[in-house]
């Protein structure tokens, strides 16, 4: 079973990475990061269950989720602030940070 988990982990990781590489929308970047973290969670639990250390994997997953929610919260706050300041959430137009 962990082999199929790792197969899907790799595909999920590619999906998140592709989303972050291709998109210029700030919100979509955060969605890509969320998908990346989901793939990490899946990898942690599959390795943890394979070696019989599910509880340790769970405690690490809880830490990952806490870090993830803080990063997403800060990212969304940055996005709302940027959209009210510049009128767009396109990352290509964020080239006037020095002004």
């Amino acid at each position: 079973m962990p082999a199929i988990n790792l197969f899907f982990t790799a595909l999920l990781f590619l999906t998140g990475l592709y989303c972050m590489l291709v998109s210029r929308n700030m919100l979509r970047l955060l969605i890509g990061m969320e998908i990346l973290s989901k793939s990490c969670i899946l990898a942690f639990i599959s390795f943890g269950s394979q070696i019989g250390q599910t509880s340790t994997a769970q405690s690490i997953i809880i830490t990952i989720i806490v870090v993830e929610v803080v990063v997403i919260g800060v990212g969304l706050a940055l996005m709302v602030k940027t959209s009210s300041a510049t009128g767009t959430i396109d990352i290509w137009k964020l080239n006037k940070l020095k002004d």
Binding site: F8, V22, S23, T54
Partner: protein, 160 residues
């Protein structure tokens, strides 16, 4: 085993749909659905605590945060003229990556062909989190404080 593969497929499907959806609101909803699929997977793999956290925080709180942020950003601000073909090509790339992975990564993936071992009954997540990984708790608290301070500095009211 069948339900496990079905849940994995649902997780991947909802994630791909979250990336491909044209409307941001639908992306957030699909991401929440992917979190629910991951929750069921975690529960099936003997990880109920992680499943509860995933369901309440990722499927609940983060979806609400995303929807709130989308409603705060005006429609014309969130519209970016991106070529949609890039996103429509994602399933093709994934299919090719899947074929490549199953062809060339077969011998590496075969090393993980063991069944899930259920955890021993006396081993608690709380015990590990509070006694063995105490630094993680301190790190989590620091992250929370840093997040609160950053968001507070973004939306602070200037004195006249």
């Amino acid at each position: 085993m069948t339900s496990h593969i079905l849940l994995l497929c649902l997780l991947l499907l909802f994630s791909v749909m979250a990336v491909m959806a044209e409307e941001m609101l639908m992306s957030a909803v699909y991401l929440g659905a992917a979190s629910v699929a991951l929750t069921l997977l975690l529960y099936e793999m003997y990880a109920p605590w992680a499943a509860v956290f995933e369901l309440s925080v990722c499927a609940g709180l983060i979806t609400v945060l995303f929807i709130s942020a989308i409603s705060l950003v005006r429609q014309e601000e969130s519209f970016i003229a991106e070529p949609r073909l890039r996103f429509k090509l994602l399933p093709v790339w994934l299919f090719m990556a899947g074929i490549l992975l199953s062809t060339f990564g077969k011998k590496y993936l075969a090393a993980f062909q063991t069944d899930v071992i259920p955890p021993p009954q006396n081993e608690g997540v709380g015990l590990i989190l509070w006694h063995l990984r105490t630094t993680d708790i301190i790190g989590q608290l620091c992250m929370f404080l840093a997040g609160v301070l950053i968001i507070n500095s973004f939306f602070s009211r200037r004195k006249a």
